[in-house]
């Protein structure tokens, strides 16, 4: 295709980092008979070159490494000689959506099945050639071996024969003890390219004749363009086009700097629309009111009102969690090249199929004429599920009839985020005369999420707030409520989505009850996770003992109960995420001149079998850093309909010298199915820290991020 040639030409001209894309994609496909491709997941050529295809986008979570490991292990490929290729959306890959900590969960079965099928065929090809039973042969690191004679054939030499064999309906999977890669600490496949600067992210893509675009958008939520004058911008050096697009005014130039300068010269007036007066402070009050009213009951067990009436002691508290931004270091960008008969898109996207569908919709081309190249992402965290930036780029390319790169500035990226929504919580707890917990009530108010369209207020699941509804603690009487507050703030998936606010409120309030009952927070929780063992929600079981086990591991490894000097404290929190992955954390903090310093976090996790322990520990460290930003620093506020923050100075994230010592312990896994890890350790971070603050100071933090004033 001519586009590929253009890509090659660009890289030949520049001799740069694009080699990665070209080296993989620019290779002329070998004739069918010399390449063994039993499925879309992998192929082996006659030189033994083994290409593993990864269909989950890489945002730092290690999907490219973990999924390649799963394939290579089951295939018995030689890890030192595999190549990893990124899939493209199309008939072979109709669902590449990368979200919900699902990369490994989604891959675990189909990838092993695909690789086992290939392995069985290669073994059969060798056995047939040697005229021995297949059962006497085994695959081993890129070769088939005949055990009794020691004969070996490398996979490459078996490619032609294996391609002629019928694909078996069933191929036996390796048993856990036969795995040689899965479960071993493996380094990131993209590591060498990252440290030399040659890894290609979305923002690094260049195609021949490409122009550079930036868009001025309305600063007010829900506002729209009133009038604009691009004459001054158009007169700037390097500026080629100034045009109106649905989200604002685009400036297209010869390079990034010229586009940004041109944008500064725009004369634009906005119609602020109905939300010019929106303020997050007023919104937070509306949330608190809604939480107090509790409009919809989602769980109601054991007669809560009567239980509270009988309780010897009743506690009540309100909790709040602020709006948060994603603030990935790589801002959003997309390259689009719209031609009359085809369209190509290069983007770091969590939803490649959606990107393809959107480009088809805008261009009017059939989907098979739209090629989407999935690039590495400099962080995503849920933001790149939305394809607004792809829509903009395709729109601009179509209008100016040239390939363009749309780059969002840091301010664009912060102000036009799909924010993590603010929430309010009202909790009540009842204790009997002996200090035993007898009643629990948790009411949540939020605006749900708008990233996937308006919230469905008819679907009961909308109200079953993660972390509040699926609360595992066994109170004799239990109720959860939900209150919806409409909001003009675009909101979306943000690493661990709804869990952090509810788990912050829940785990803090459990601590409040333990304190009121004069019980140890660990013992108090253990008591609430004892009997009955199973919680049933929607006829699905939640195992309280699994959660109790990680709690006990975290407590033991985290020196729970060992005295600390004055000014320091230890806090505990636990959570089961979507019925599967269990996490417990012990945080140690020091209060230092009115500030919280987190010294250490010990984390116990049960997430089923761990594919790559090195990557998995990194994911826990990363999730803890994410949780600490929200707990200690992150807050987006709105005033006059505008987000008040736009940079890392006013929306600071956790810094190098604020990172605690993190220790990770994986619970021995009982299950055989991985259950996700990228998001799961986030929700417990905030309450573990604030419970530690309480232990150190007696001050109860009910609003995140922690403010110095709360510590006085």
């Amino acid at each position: 295709m001519s586009t590929r040639r253009a890509f090659l030409q660009t890289s030949a001209l520049t001799g740069t980092a694009l080699v990665l894309g070209v080296g993989r994609e620019g290779v002329v496909a070998a004739p069918a008979s010399t390449t063994f491709r039993p499925s879309a997941w992998l192929r082996i050529d006659q030189n033994g070159r083994t290409t593993l295809v990864v269909d989950k986008s890489e945002m730092g979570q290690g999907a490219r490494t973990a999924l390649a490991m799963i394939l290579a292990d089951e295939l018995e490929a030689d890890w030192a000689h595999v190549e990893v290729e990124h899939a493209r959306p199309g008939p072979d890959f109709p669902d590449m959506h990368t979200a919900g900590s699902g990369s490994v969960i989604d891959a675990w079965k189909p990838l092993r099945k695909a690789a086992a099928t290939a392995r069985v065929l290669l073994v059969a090809a060798a056995a047939s050639e040697w005229k021995v039973p297949e059962t006497e042969c085994r695959a081993e690191s890129g070769t088939v071996v005949h055990a009794s004679t020691g004969r070996r054939r490398p996979y490459g030499e078996l490619v032609a024969a294996a391609s002629r064999l019928p694909v078996p309906a069933e191929a036996p999977l390796k048993e856990a003890k036969e795995r040689r890669l899965v479960g071993q600490p493996m380094k990131r496949v993209d590591g060498p390219k990252i440290v030399t600067g040659s890894a290609v992210y979305g923002a690094d893509v260049r195609v021949l004749g490409m122009l550079f675009a930036t868009i001025e958008r309305c600063p007010v939520l829900g506002g729209k363009l009133l009038r604009w004058d691009g004459a001054r911008a158009k007169a700037m050096a390097g500026v080629r086009h100034v045009l109106e697009v649905p989200t604002g005014v685009a400036v297209v130039a010869d390079d990034t700097w010229s586009a940004l300068k041109g944008r500064e010269a725009l004369d634009v007036a906005w119609d602020e629309g109905p939300h010019g007066g929106f303020s997050s402070q007023t919104h937070q009050q509306a949330l608190a009111t809604a939480a107090r009213k509790g409009l919809r009951v989602t769980r109601d067990e054991g007669g809560v009102d009567a239980a509270f009436a009988r309780a010897a002691q009743t506690l009540e508290a309100e909790y709040e969690y602020s709006f948060q931004a994603h603030a990935a270091v790589e801002t959003l960008s997309c390259v689009a090249d719209v031609r009359a008969d085809r369209c190509e898109v290069w983007a770091g996207t969590q939803s490649p199929n959606r990107a393809q569908a959107i480009a088809a919709e805008i261009t009017g081309l059939p989907q098979e004429r739209v090629v989407v190249h999935v690039l590495l992402m400099g962080g995503a965290f849920g933001r790149r599920i939305a394809q607004d930036f792809v829509r903009e780029a395709v729109t601009v390319s179509k209008a100016v009839k040239a390939p363009i790169q749309l780059l969002w500035t840091r301010a664009d990226d912060t102000r036009h985020d799909f924010f993590h929504p603010a929430t309010a919580h009202v909790l009540r707890g009842g204790l009997d005369g002996a200090g035993n917990p007898v009643a629990w009530s948790h009411s949540v108010a939020d605006s749900y999420l708008t990233m996937f369209g308006p919230p469905d207020l008819k679907d009961p699941e909308t109200f079953e707030t993660w972390g509040a509804y699926d609360n595992l603690y066994a109170f004799p009487a239990f109720r959860t409520d939900y209150g919806f507050v409409d909001s003009p703030v675009p909101s979306g998936a943000w690493r661990s989505v709804f869990y952090p606010p509810s788990v912050f409120a829940r785990e803090s309030f459990v601590d409040e009850m333990a304190s009121a009952a004069r019980r140890d927070p660990l013992e108090f929780r253990r008591g609430l996770l004892a009997e009955p063992r199973m919680l049933m929600l929607h006829e699905r079981p939640y195992d309280r003992h699994r959660l109790r086990r990680v709690l006990e591991i975290a407590a033991e490894k985290g020196d729970w109960g060992r005295p600390l000097p004055a000014g320091r404290g230890r806090g505990l929190a636990a959570n089961m995420y979507h019925r599967r992955t269990c996490v417990a954390q012990v945080a140690e903090v020091t209060i230092d001149r009115g500030r919280v310093r987190v010294d250490r976090i010990v984390c116990a996790v049960d997430c089923g079998p761990v594919i790559n322990p090195l990557g998995a520990v990194g994911q826990v460290e990363s999730a803890i850093a994410w949780g600490l930003t929200a707990a200690l620093k992150g807050r987006i506020t709105f005033r006059n309909g505008r987000p008040e923050q736009s940079t890392y100075r006013d929306y600071p994230v956790l810094a190098f010298d604020e990172m605690p010592k993190v220790e990770v312990h994986f619970a021995p896994s009982e299950g055989e199915i991985p259950s996700g890890l990228g998001e799961q350790p986030v929700p417990t971070v905030g309450p573990a820290v604030t419970n530690a603050v309480f232990a150190a100071t007696g001050k109860r933090i009910r609003h995140l991020p922690v403010r110095s004033v709360d510590l006085l």
Binding site: P192, T256, L654
Partner: protein, 157 residues
């Protein structure tokens, strides 16, 4: 538009540019050196860090006119093949996650080790405090810097 002579990774390059153009965009858009990343444009994140006169500097905060005729090293020029002690230590500790901020981190650490062969933890904090890694790889960065100190020392001997 003016003409500027740049000395990048040991090679002389001439570019025509608006004198105020940040070095970052000259590197990325003109010289095809895209290991230098844009993260914020205000010197707050450190992703665009390069070496100028052997010291770590934020290329988004240096106009091309200020960078002319001074030796500049980008991540592509730190070593020919990724063999700089800091790069090797980074791989050994498997530091990177998304990796986007890492060229800036590596160049900052390399400049620190050149200026202070045995930095204290306080000096390491000081150098890296203003570099943002949203993946939170800080613990591994700290762990990688210590062997890098050792390796760099070995090579000087």
């Amino acid at each position: 538009m003016s003409s500027f002579n740049l000395l990048v990774n040991g090679a002389r390059r001439t570019v025509e540019a608006d004198p105020d153009t940040p070095l970052l965009w000259v590197l990325r858009d003109r010289l095809e050196l895209r290991g230098t990343k844009y993260g914020c444009g205000i010197g707050a994140c450190g992703s665009c860090t390069v070496h100028v006169d052997g010291r770590a500097a934020r290329s988004c905060q240096i106009a091309v006119r200020e960078a002319a005729d001074r030796p500049i090293t980008t991540i592509e020029g730190l070593s020919a093949d990724g063999s700089h002690p800091v790069q090797r230590a980074w791989l050994e500790e498997d530091v990177a996650q998304c990796g986007f901020c890492q060229p800036g981190m590596i160049l900052e650490a390399a400049a620190l080790l050149r200026a202070t062969p045995r930095p204290t933890d306080g000096a390491i904090d000081e150098a890296l405090r203003d570099h943002v890694c949203r993946c939170g790889t800080y613990q591994r960065i700290r762990r990688a810097i210590h062997p890098a100190i050792h390796q760099a020392g070995e090579e000087r001997r």
